[in-house]
């Protein structure tokens, strides 16, 4: 069986700068796979490539064996990939629960006719969509905000809301870009628990993170980037003992 996500010889250049260079790795279904590295190592660029926001300069990404080269982000979503952003992307012109309901966009069948006349079938779908969204908000721990305007929510709650929105799409793989950034110790601990819960449900998790403690605790495998290149790849144990990684992180 081939890996869920397979990356081969990936290259992304911005002008003369190679943000990502010759990166290859594979993520098996069901894993928690983390990408770490110093600032500017190319982690977020890598995520943007995988999620179709950037187009690779060279190389190939396969999702479930299918090349993603010609696919738009929304088509990747149809194939079971969803993500969050380091710079949160929340629709501030909507309420919290509407943001999560937006995540179920692909699960809802609606046509213009039933929408304009607000037919009962549409209302039933909306009702169950809302219920599912409320469950997810409870699951990620922001259940008390249901009808709060997103613009009135705290940073920590919005981070969770973004995860709920991604989960609402029922993805096979969820990409979390620095979910712990800006969170305090307690919040990070509960985030760790949340990521574990997501993984336990069978969703593959890809994580970009700075928080070493968090990453080492929950990852099945890690990819270490430095200056856009792969420095090391392996289990947390292997990474911890890798001399190159130690050198890059401690300065050798």
């Amino acid at each position: 069986m081939s890996a869920l996500i397979e990356v081969k010889g990936l290259d992304k250049a911005f002008g003369g700068v190679h943000a990502v260079e010759g990166v290859s790795f594979a993520v098996e279904a069901g894993q928690v796979y983390s990408v770490i590295g110093p600032n500017g190592a190319g982690k977020t660029t890598l995520f943007n490539l995988i999620s179709g926001i950037y187009t690779p300069t060279k190389g190939e990404i396969r999702l479930n064996g299918e090349s993603t080269a010609k696919l738009e982000p929304n088509q990747l979503a149809e194939r079971g990939m969803c993500r969050t952003f380091q710079q949160m992307q929340i629709c501030m012109n909507m309420t919290a629960i509407e943001n999560v309901m937006l995540g179920r966009h692909l699960k809802l069948k609606s046509n213009l006719f039933s929408t304009l006349f607000r037919l009962p079938a549409l209302l039933r779908d909306e009702q169950s969509c809302r219920q599912r969204a409320a469950e997810l908000m409870e699951f990620v721990g922001c259940g008390e905000y249901l009808d709060t305007e997103a613009s009135a929510m705290s940073y920590g709650a919005l981070k969770r809301l973004e995860i709920a929105r991604a989960l609402a799409a029922e993805p096979k793989v969820i990409l979390l870009d620095e979910p712990a950034a800006g969170l305090n110790g307690t919040e990070t601990a509960s985030l760790e628990e949340l990521i574990r819960k997501i993984a336990d449900q069978g969703t593959t998790v890809m994580l970009v993170e700075h928080d070493m403690k968090l990453v080492m605790g929950i990852s099945d495998r890690l990819l270490v980037l430095n200056y856009g290149r792969v420095l090391a790849e392996g289990t947390p144990e292997e990474i911890r003992n890798n001399p190159d990684v130690i050198a890059a992180y401690l300065g050798g």
Binding site: I53, C82, I90, M92, L102, H105, L108, S110, L116
Partner: protein, 335 residues
Amino acid sequence: MVNRFMQSRLRDLVFLAIILFALPAFLSNPFHYDLATQMAIIAATVVGLNLLVGFAGQISLGHAGFFGLGAYFSGIMTGSYGWSSIPALLVGAVLVGIIAWIVGRPILRLKGHYLSMATLAVGFIIAIIINNETWLTGGPDGMPVPSLDIFGWELSPFGSYSLFGMELDGNQAWYLFAALVLLVAVWFAQNLIDSPIGRALRSVHGSEVAARVVGVNTASYKSLVFVISAIYASLMGGLYAHFQGFITPAVAAFDFSIVLITMVVLGGMGSTMGVILGAVVLKLLPQVLADFQELETVMFGLILMLTMIFMPKGLLPTIQMAVSKRMKKKAGGQA
């Protein structure tokens, strides 16, 4: 409880219906009815434009073009080719929808000023065609349009009608008809906004990249809302032509596009009731400013500027916020 009712969509619709049907008590002559009817038709156009501008966050500076196309299609087909009004309105709307889709696909890829420019150009092209194709449109002199007939029943400002035993003159009947049209336009718009399609549209405004990663095909949704708002404009243009009985290229002109967008911004982008208020205020303003006639356009510009500076959310949302703040303060004081 009160809050829940305040937020319900039905409240807006009921509120609007009460105002619309109570208004005749304050209208004393045909001129008032004429103005009120125009307001209702323009308001419905702006409700459609607001779907594009206020909810999906895309701009159109050429919307009068679609209004004008609808007006002229209805005028030409009923006047020169003997079509009945309803088929002319519907076929016109479909054609304008198709034109909007063809034009919208490429230009909605643009953002910000570039999109403004492109829509501006679309409006100009339509206005120029209407001005120049004299054989068809009468050119700058305009053309007469027959009165509205609804499957053989004729609605004309010069007719006289009876409704539930009430005697109505043509202007009054037209006003009631336009009020009904506005209510339906608002109802459709509200249904659209509060639906999966509406959420997708609003997400294009809120965060396009977020919308895309959860599977929203943002390009098609932008086209969809562009087409819907163009269809609103086309239908209202057609009705306007029948109501006025005479149209000139002014209905498709740049100035009118600016008036429409000003109504949206002034009333409150993304607030259906707000943009109706915007339409009413800007329609009334020329009456109030009649003395400064040459400065009317300057006034429009000035009002738009001042609103942007002091009430960036628009008239109605600002008023609503002030009221709810005061109510909260009162509630806090009592507790």
